[in-house]
């Protein structure tokens, strides 16, 4: 009996050992569960597997709302993925905790990789002291999505036409939002990003107008929201919510994708939701402001966890996924940071849902855009901000005082 058990145990151990030496599995966490996205990623992985027999690549979807949280728990539980899709706001914390591997040497040693092809602004967040902690994978500008049917009903020129005439600015934005709201009773002129402008996307709601007015949320450790530019921008939004009633107000649901708002801000990966929306639509750049055009970019990068078993192989997969050819393939959903791809016709024609002339504004926004300000303590900053931002979004709020309150709350953390 004992012998039999011993035999069985050694057989199991042997199998496990040989399985480990035979097949190397690379696991990558991604936020997307979209079928088209995953199909494309698996296609790219297949190319890598063909060159590396015995390797398997598994994409693990973690829902976007809890993405960083779940990733942290995987790390804490000693089960970090080999590669992670890292969101910009989480990057500094992971980087400073020493969890990410310097993949620079592998990338630069990869034949034909051409590391310099990645634009410098796009790399800003991912390089430190000559080390490379991530490769931008999606450098996706914020855009205005508009509901063409609702604009037609109001007899208005749409944002894209206004942009072509050079009239698409913050003043015009307020004006058309009001008119389109009046012409579509029960609906709204504008909805903040993902309908979360008063909660999880509060900074995404404020950032584009604040930048258009020449301000920022924070920069160089200084809160910028109490500066005159930011105050003017937020005052305008506040008027639109409470005086014009053209922006979906706090506590209401006015989903753009189900046709309840004429405009919203989002990125081109959301275009995949549009065919089922059931209305005519288009995309346009963000409205410009007193400070000119100020595109805002959301960014994500591929990072390799230093604790992984196959870090070198993982870095090679990152090199493969961000090669010129594959970046071009992914451009339809995840806009590239490679200059050569951005400047090519292939990019402008990459998206079946968005006409080339509109894709040109996407390309321009990537080149000129700046990412959302980042910080190691973003979760704490957001938590400190939230109650003050709640106070801002009341009909009787004094915008300037409320923004001073926001700054007072977050300055110690910056």
């Amino acid at each position: 009996m004992k012998t039999a058990i011993k035999l069985a145990l050694s057989a199991v151990a042997l199998c496990a050992l040989s399985a480990q030496s035979m097949a190397q599995e690379l696991r990558m966490t991604v936020w997307t569960g979209n079928e088209a996205h995953l199909k494309m990623l698996n296609g790219i992985a297949a190319g890598f597997i063909a060159k590396h027999p015995g390797v398997t690549v598994k994409f693990e979807t973690v829902p976007v709302a809890d993405y960083t949280q779940k990733l942290t728990f995987q790390v804490a539980g000693g089960n970090a993925p080999d590669i992670a899709w890292m969101m910009e706001d989480a990057a500094p914390a992971f980087e400073n905790a020493g969890l990410l591997m310097d993949i620079g040497p592998t990338l630069k040693a990869t034949e034909g990789y051409n590391f310099e092809d990645f634009s410098e602004p796009a790399m800003a967040l991912w390089q430190k002291d000559g080390k490379v902690y991530g490769m931008p994978f999606s450098t996706s500008p914020f855009l205005i999505y508009y509901n063409k049917d609702m604009f037609d009903k109001a007899g208005l020129e749409d944002p894209n036409q206004l942009a072509a005439k050079g009239e698409w600015n913050m003043q015009k934005f307020q004006e058309v939002a009001k008119k389109v709201t009046d012409a579509n009773p029960g609906k709204w002129g504008f909805e903040f990003k993902d309908g979360e402008g008063y909660a999880s996307r509060m900074t995404h709601a404020l950032l584009p107008p604040v930048r258009a007015y020449g301000g920022d949320l924070w920069a160089n450790g200084q809160c910028g929201l109490d500066k005159p530019e930011a105050v003017a921008a937020v005052k305008q939004l506040h008027d639109m919510v409470f005086k014009d009633k053209s922006i979906v107000p706090p506590g209401e649901q006015g989903d753009y994708f189900s046709g309840n708002s004429a405009m919203t801000v989002n990125q081109i990966s959301r275009a995949s939701k549009m065919p089922e929306a059931g209305f005519k639509w288009g995309i346009a750049p963000l409205p410009s402001g007193p400070a000119g055009e100020a595109p805002v970019i959301g960014q994500a990068a591929l990072t390799v966890f230093a604790s992984g078993k196959n870090t070198e192989l993982a870095a090679q997969l990152v090199a493969e996924m961000t090669s010129r050819d594959n970046v071009a393939v992914m451009a339809q959903f995840f806009p590239p940071a490679r200059k050569s791809v951005l400047e090519s016709n292939a990019f402008v024609n990459s998206n079946k849902l968005i006409p080339p002339e509109q894709m040109k504004s996407v390309a321009a926004a990537i080149v000129n855009g700046r990412v959302h300000p980042s910080h190691e303590h973003v979760p704490q900053i957001f938590a400190a901000m939230a109650p003050r931002v709640d106070a801002l979004w009341r009909a009787d709020a004094n915008v300037e005082d409320a923004l001073k309150g926001v700054c007072a709350a977050i300055q110690p953390l910056l």
Binding site: A76, E252, P379, A386, R394
Partner: protein
Amino acid sequence: MAGKAFRDNAARAAGAPWLTLKTREMLEAWLFVSPTLIGFLIFFLGPLVAIFYYSTTEWNLLSQQATFVGLRNFHNVLLENPDFWHVVRNSVIFALGLVPLNMALALSLALALSRPFFGVVFFRTVFFAPVVTSAIAWAIVWKFMLQGEGGAVNQMLAWIGINGPNWLREPNWAMAAVIVTRVIKMVGLNMILYIAALQSIPRDYEEAATLEGASRWQVFRMITWPLLAPTTLVIMVLTTIGSFKVFDHIYQMTGGGPENGTLVLAFYIYQQGFKFFNVGYAAALALIMFVIVMALTLVQVMLRRRDME
């Protein structure tokens, strides 16, 4: 009998003379409880003990660095963190609002539904159904109903000429709204407990009192209410503990807002531990919550005991 003889024989046949009947029965008993026991040890007692240790460390989940800091976390929570007292205040307001409302409503419903009448089962089911509904689904539906302008609640109020507030965006109303929606969700459970208790009171008492000329209020005041006392205590303790532990409801409906108006203790612990990854600090907070709930329970039990004497 035959079964016992068979088992005794089987035990001996297995060549285990030490296996007396008593030992065997004990072994069997342990074997039967072991699945629950192992689960209890691993998933309940283990973490409970671990949390005492965690609360004395400064442990950042991300960097995986844990340093022993003694009682500093407690010092920071109690003396240096103004948010903590605000959060405790919110938790107390939540409990003070929820417990009496829940119990009064549960008792009223139980009194109305404890005697059989046509359709009683239907009504009991209606009031109990929210208890078994998913808490998240419940909160999402209410979030829609409580919207400022398009919400069903305000539309109904408008019919009778009341201009309802933006319930979940104004701190005081938000607290009231989460309390009331929570009461409606959980009242069915206490109602069932009260119905069971009411049905176990012998009818003779009531009949005797009525014959003596007692009014319905007197019967309730002098007979029913005192006899319900043990049940009332249990309900009060459980509801109080439950109200301090409320999390899912707050998480989904308000996220602790607006202006931290509904930031209660359990949600604050979650924020510290799972958003900021300060595990040691969150553990200290959890222990403090444990002490608060324990103390409240003891006070209630002692008050009750004094009452009985």
